[in-house]
Amino acid sequence: MAAAPHEVLFARGQMAYSLGFHIVFAAIGIAMPLLMVGAEILWRRSHRPEYLELARRWAKGTAIFFAIGAVSGTVLSFELGLLFPRFMELAGPFVGMPFSLEGIAFFTEAIFLGLYLYGWDRLAPRLHIACGAVVALSGALSAVFVTLVNAWMNAPRGFTLENGQIRGVDPALALGSPFALHEIAHGLLAAYMATAMAVAAIHAFGLLRKPGAALHAAALRLALAVAIPCALAQPLVGHAAGHAVAEHQPLKLAAMEGLEHTQAGAPAHLGPVPVPHGLSLLAYGDPDAVVRGLEEFPAADRPHPVVHLGFQVMVLLGTGAALWASLTLLLWLRRRRLPQDRRWLWLTVALGPAGVIAMEAGWIVTEVGRQPWAIYGVLRTADAATPVGPLWVSFTLFAIIYVGLAAAAALVLRREVKKTTAEASA
């Protein structure tokens, strides 16, 4: 009943773009409520109208992105069965628990988002803020739980393998994958960073068009308060992630760096620039450590070279974001007010998409880098794929839908940004 190789590719392709699509909307749906509720708190305290305006606009943004995140997430939960039925058959007893917890968090988020969005006139101010806070918290929690699933796929725990058969199911142990902590931290920071940097870029652009506009300055302050700490912390967490990959998935590490040959004192690459001994140092904390190269693994097991590209893009953009955050913090502290000179504003605009792109690139690294395994070392992706075909039908169908929805979301976003940057009073 095994699926033909090209059908497996269609299944993988559909899963990949479904996740790639969902992740953007989910990330914004997680991070935007934090900005939204922050703006409302500041409005209730200061009564400055720009904060109310921001809270309303970000609530609208949350509503749109959460809705598309929710329906595309539903598609994913079904696609696990439609595209990789053997995966869920095997993984269900282990990842059912984190998925259930995620379901609870998601349920809570949907309920309190309804209360928040439509409760402005029906709920007391404190209660309304509390609802917003529950949205922000439950959004973050659902990310925590769903990332536990991915952590288990990368470093599965809670069973013993006997002749390739799973024995002794312990779902509680399965929650404690050694990938859990760093994946959760890395993913959450990425979501906040991607959203806050994009928001910062929009309002930096607003300030370029209308210097001194209170709305944009207020928005920029809030976005930077989220983006700066996240961008500074992210490389450190990424470093911890690298350690874990080196320990548990040496092949992924080799693929990330595109390291052909096993060597001591392996270099790392920052774009085209080699950093001598960098990889050995980063992965093992020892500049002369031996790093295993791709040559040690069967050619059929090596992941696609796009992993190397994805890793480069992620590291370059992440480094750029951390440098930008340091610079911003420095300027902000030295002048004791928000930096507003045009060069810095343009830089902020230019880095607007960096967080989102880095997040997608990182996702490619961890997912394509795990191939050919669906569950690392336990179940191959090809063996998990559905025997049903032809899959090009659903592949094409959802591809068209997602391209259309992405275009529609981009149009709405453009319209809102235009409105924001044109209307804001000085």
Binding site: L80, G92, P93, I104, G114, L115, V388, F398, L405
Partner: protein
């Protein structure tokens, strides 16, 4: 009663709640599609206002059912994805388009989004109905008179519930009269389709009907209609919801102890015990968080007509 039975019961309860909440939201889309007459735009606005605060929370009941299915009964989830690949894919397309189109329309999108919302709302429960019929019959066939009748029944149930709920959600007498008429028409359609489904059902299906549940469903249906005719809209809303839940419960009673016909039973498909023992308290805790929150959501937005 085993842990697996309890979890299957939780799934059935989730499905029943989804039918009477999420199902009614799809039904709202059906009435958006069929909106006509001098008050067509007012009807659409009422539907949109009724859905806006709750449709996402209502939608999560479907996610709940799926998550319990793949956590507690992984082989059943795998079998579902393989055997019902086409109708499930179609339902998913409907789910994505309905939700996104509703959102884009709410935030000033082109009128075409409204159309798409309405068509997707009408189509989604139909495809879900095909799947439900398919897992009931031994052959697993999701095409034929029986599945088509069940698909149409799912659409009619949603439309009926939506129309009844909307009578309780508007203070405008003309709009209320519009939806009262629609509710009565949908009641008739529902009864006709239920009869058709029973006639077309495979051998043994009718015999397995639980007489008490059938009697209860008929009683609730009659009471809901009487309440509707007498203008007791709040009561009609509660009775119609109970009727919808009773229909799903009746189906569950026929299906027990099978998850997917012919041979995938609750006991056979159940995950290992440690998983089931962990899932039960998780669902209980989740319920303790979610159910009071949901009650509050409904009370804030649904307790009195606008």
């Amino acid at each position: 009663m085993s842990a697996a039975d309890l979890l299957a019961g939780a799934m059935l309860a989730g499905l029943a709640i989804y039918a009477v909440t999420g199902g009614a939201d799809f039904g709202g889309g059906v009435w958006d599609l069929l909106a006509r007459g001098p008050r067509a735009e007012e009807q659409r606005r009422l539907i949109a206002r009724a859905l806006a605060p709750v449709w996402e929370a209502n939608h999560v009941w479907l996610v709940f059912v799926v998550v319990v299915l793949f956590s507690a009964f992984p082989p059943a989830f795998a079998a579902l994805g393989i055997r019902f690949h086409a109708p499930l894919t179609a339902a998913l397309v409907g789910i994505v388009l309905r939700g996104s189109a509703f959102m884009f329309r709410s935030y000033g999108g082109a009128p075409a989004w409204g159309r798409l919302f309405a068509v997707a709302s009408a189509a989604t429960p139909f495809f879900l109905g095909l799947v439900l019929a398919g897992i009931t019959v031994e052959s697993g066939a999701w095409l034929g008179v029986f599945p088509l009748a069940v698909g149409a029944l799912a659409v009619a149930l949603g439309a009926y519930l939506a129309a009844v709920y909307l009578t309780a959600e508007t203070g405008d007498p003309a709009l209320r009269a519009d939806f009262r008429r629609r509710a009565a028409a949908a009641w008739l359609a529902l009864a006709a389709l239920a009869a058709l489904a029973l006639i077309a059902a495979p051998d043994g299906f009718v015999r397995r009907l639980h007489p008490a549940i059938v009697a209860l469903t008929a009683l609730l249906a009659a009471a809901a209609l009487i309440a509707l005719i007498r203008g007791r809209y709040q009561a009609a809303r509660a009775l119609a919801a109970a009727q919808g839940a009773a229909i799903v419960a009746g189906w569950g009673a026929i299906q027990y102890p099978t998850l997917i016909a012919p041979d995938l039973t609750i006991a056979r498909a159940a995950a290992p015990d440690p998983t089931l023992r962990l899932l039960l308290p998780a669902i209980a805790i989740g319920g303790a968080i979610v159910l009071p929150s949901l009650y509050w959501l409904m009370r804030v937005f649904k307790s009195r007509p606008e």
